[in-house]
Symmetry: D2
Subunit: 363 residues, 4 copies
């Protein structure tokens, strides 16, 4: 932590800061520049409240040097985390694609969409039973009944299921049924939810908040890992900017940035990022070219009847084309789209072999 | 709802959209411009999923016309909502100022700060017992013990207390003790929390999310009101922008905008908005001049020892000056800073007279 | 300048950076933290290209410590700059209000608007003869003929005129006629234009770019002052954010921030910031309460016929109310709206007494 | 153009708007919804100032329906524009890569960098002789002397040269020497510069402004094309957002969006977008996968000595790897990196064959 003093700070104020740091058990290194003094604080700075230093007389600003996250940091663990879903892995070089409808709207549409995406080569099924909606008057999802439909779709197709938990209470129910617990963008800083997901024995897919920095996103992952669950998959889904022709602005530079800073796998949701089905294919290809570990894509057997996000959903035909395109991009980089392994017997009880054994990093 | 067709949309596609609207029970009004057709959908458009229309062939975009919020809308109720806290009201012309430390860190500091802000004319006490923190390694608040300290401070000063509930579970405990339940910016779209607060019998202070539009903010309030609690106070606390010399960018134009769109009172938090104590005073004055119903200000008896947000906290002396300044601004506009009424006997059971009687709008 | 090394930087890399700094004539101060090394570079860091340091092996990031601006900095000159327009001053405690139409559309409307704003107490006339327009098909202004109309309006009312120059070539012509040369938001980083305005002998009103930081804004002012013109008035006019119910987001915290960092006066344009006439009054009041030195307000004798920005223009009646309101806010803070002094004889040749003598700071 | 009336608008106000539209020669179509009236204006709406309609009593907002741009629109011209640089074309399926230093700093470094990028397969040379710099104290470029060095580098390598013109005056000099005139992000709305480039007989590379919408970008291109120059290459270079770990946020969704809206080619600058050399490769690959027509990449023979943007410059070795990577991505999509054709004799006079003949679209 560096403390930059104001240009007009007095010697008494500089000494005040030095003493204050020493009282907190830190060493203080002074560097007198032409215009102002900078004080380096060395020691266990995580224990010190930066903002209280900022309140000292003569202090202009605080510059944190150490990354605020630890367990998710590549400095802490230099090997890539691979999250094992039993029939497929996320974060080895193969590309995992979760596809399916925005919301679980009914049995028929989910089963037919699931069958279609499985045929096209998807390696996971997405679909929301519990739906966060901006308006209280929008369709809010089928809830527990939706989870049963997803279980049926999984039995039919063999696809592992990712679905969202919106509250700490829903985590256990979702974890019981699903292969991956999704935490949504609006909940990225819902700390009780993060901690409850951290206590679950299923992997967690953590979407980036729509106005979250990469550091805040990694700190949210840190909450989950610190609570005991090392199996976190990050998901970039676009950030909010002034640009309004797309629903959000997909920040693909976050992919290589996360790979530099963290050992966690990172996938991309081009559907929510763009909001238009015609932009999903190009952004999916770009995500893979940028090094993403996989995709989360909205597909609907009949987008024009969808209760949620029809405009950004692909038809099964368009999804088939997308899978062909990303296979080609993947191969150009010495990678490939993942193939499902045979599901192991005990997976029928809702726990995959790998994530059922022990919540330690798979690497 | 207006449906703008693509420039190259065919007659068959236009007819397809018209038929689809009629199947959903809506009337369709066609307007053929020089370049493209626009279709107006008239009827109960709230029941129709816009995004599914967007998936129809030939549709370029959907333009909602009706406001998505109802109960909180000025169209629905044209009189200002006044939220009664027993000893003071929020939303009549007088200005309510909630002041106190960011976090409830300990008994002494809270009691001394509470006494100081009361002396300076504050009409409410703020302070967090449950604290949402970006890092799992930051001080997380004293929890229930913190609520007891706040209760003691209230008994001492007579100030009504606003404090945050972070989870649906905490709502009952906070509602039991506090006069106003605060919902934080990170939780603005935590829908279970909104609904639980909507079932509480205490007023709710709803902070704007850091990347929320005014419409999304009002829809979050709509969740609370639709769940049965009409006593919502909105709080602007800055939005996230590219500008980094302040913690957030205070969007004061939201004040008159909310006043045009909604009947709910709106206050301003200049402390979180700016992140620097030296900017708090000017922004507090600006907020009052823009028509805000009140302020939420961080004050700490000794900012340099604060465990949270010391850099943006005012000393009691500076807070005293702020109160004098805003009194002058208020009087220049024919308003004044609110004065505490005598607390009524039944307030000791934690329920103020007004909000304890019936959860109907006070207007 | 501080150089933060990567956590895994080697001693050889650290030595490489130290040597490189010394070759550039700087001292290097090492601070070894628990995780990484920070190197402080002391000396004439303005001469060193930070980005080249960033290219050295092992360097993670560069943190500038000194402000990048000099002449406009309060560290350089601690007295407030007062810009003298002959009949009124900008930056002393009195509030200067420039009002008038967006564009000079015709003689009658400009003269009648000018007369109306003068009657209401405006201390300056605004109006664009040269208009920057997003579309090549929009009305582009009357050009030189517009300047003549403004000169006639000035002769009629005595109001000093601010009008925009869009190109270096226009600067001389605008400086000949106007009392203040306006540089628009889109041109804030048009460096040739800044330098040409820096060579002019009239004050410059520099609008903040719509996505400019405060530092970039002050650096743009530095270009003007460094070129020889100390009479710069800054103008906050809103920044671009995700929020779309207003044309821009007015960043009023920039007012006290600029006052801390710089000695230049700063005024506010609530019309472009909000884009809606009904929000102009509240934001004008807020600007004055935040400490702005003045306002730039769009007023049109008949907004419904305006060729430009009618929706954000006040009628003369509404402008009259705004003037009364800000007078009250000003007086509450011990200030007042400026009154025009008698124009001095030589002002008829288009040069005010003060700015005509010598381009030195007025303080 | 649609005019949305306020919910409480009276019949008199509705009639007022209808009359006002008819006076402007437009038809008015009324659509009465449950809550409010929407009026469709049909006719030559480009001639009507929307903002003046907004000033009419009872009007809530205006919704433009027609695209504001014409000549650059795919509705106007459905074939892709191919810009011919004599030895290579931009906008056919082959990928054009302009590489070179940020600034022309000296003869040796430019010649050695040019030779290195030519060897690695670049099809164009980039480098700034005139440099827009945020600070007046930064290196401002070599100016005309820099253009001579670029000419020498072109003679040596055969690479067509793109270099920036910052002012209308520089356009002729740059057009004389260079193969493509670059207009920078800060100048995207410098309308005199756009128009002067529109009168030049060399292609123009138009960078997106850092806070410009896609519509504003296309309108800036419209200025150039409307002035007579159809050979415009768009360049996405990142937009400004809250995210601060990269210099800007690369908006790759702009690529397919521009392809839907316009016939102009679009390339990507991953160097300015990210600001870190280690992120340039992944973003270059992603750009090609998203369908970009080419790249603009900073390469420097020795980044650690660069006077400008060393931190985001690739070494020749890393650039060689990037070229290999994008060739693979291109081939996966049935495309390839462009190869230089033999330069034709008349190119020595500084005019390529194609752009020298006639300023009509190449398609």
């Amino acid at each position: 932590m560096l403390i930059v003093m104001k240009a007009q700070a007095t010697d008494v104020e500089v000494t005040g800061v030095v003493n204050s740091l020493q009282e907190r058990g830190l060493e203080a290194h002074l560097s007198r520049g032409k215009e102002r003094v900078v004080i380096g604080a060395v020691g266990d700075v995580h224990s010190v409240t930066q903002s209280s230093i900022l309140a000292l007389e003569g202090v202009e600003r605080i510059i944190p040097i150490a990354h605020p996250f630890k367990l998710v940091s590549r400095n802490f663990k230099n090997h890539d985390t691979v999250v094992d879903l039993g029939v497929v892995q996320v974060g080895d070089r193969a590309i995992t694609v979760f596809a399916g409808p925005c919301a679980v709207e009914g049995r028929d549409v989910v089963l037919s969409t699931a069958a279609a995406v499985a045929r096209a080569g998807a390696t996971g099924l997405r679909g929301g039973a519990f739906k966060p909606r901006t308006s209280p008057y929008s369709f809010q999802g089928l809830g527990s009944a939706g989870l049963e439909i997803l279980a049926e779709a999984r039995a039919l197709t063999g696809l592992p299921v990712v679905t969202e938990a919106m509250t700490p209470q829903q985590v256990a129910e979702v974890a019981e049924m699903a292969d991956v617990i999704q935490l949504g963008a609006r909940n990225m800083q819902n700390y009780d939810l993060l901690q409850e997901a951290g206590r679950a024995r299923k992997p967690v897919l953590l979407k980036r908040g729509m106005s979250s920095t990469v550091d805040e996103w990694l700190l949210a992952a840190e909450y989950i890992v610190a609570a005991g669950n090392p199996n976190v998959i990050l998901c970039e889904r676009g950030i909010r900017t002034f640009s309004q022709r797309t629903r959000n602005t997909l920040d693909l530079s976050a992919i290589p940035l996360v790979k530099e800073l963290s050992h966690l796998p990172v996938i991309v949701d081009p559907s929510h990022a763009t909001g238009h089905w015609s932009l999903v294919g190009p952004m999916a290809r770009a995500a893979i070219a940028a090094g993403a570990d996989g995709l989360l894509v909205e597909v609907h057997a009949d987008p024009a009847t969808a209760l949620c996000d029809g405009g950004q959903s692909l038809t099964p035909e368009n999804f088939g084309r997308l899978m062909e395109d990303i296979e080609l991009i993947a191969r150009a980089q010495g990678r490939q789209v993942a193939r499902l392994r045979q599901r192991q017997p005990q997976s029928t009880d809702g726990l995959t072999a790998a994530s059922g054994t022990s919540p330690v990093p798979q690497d």
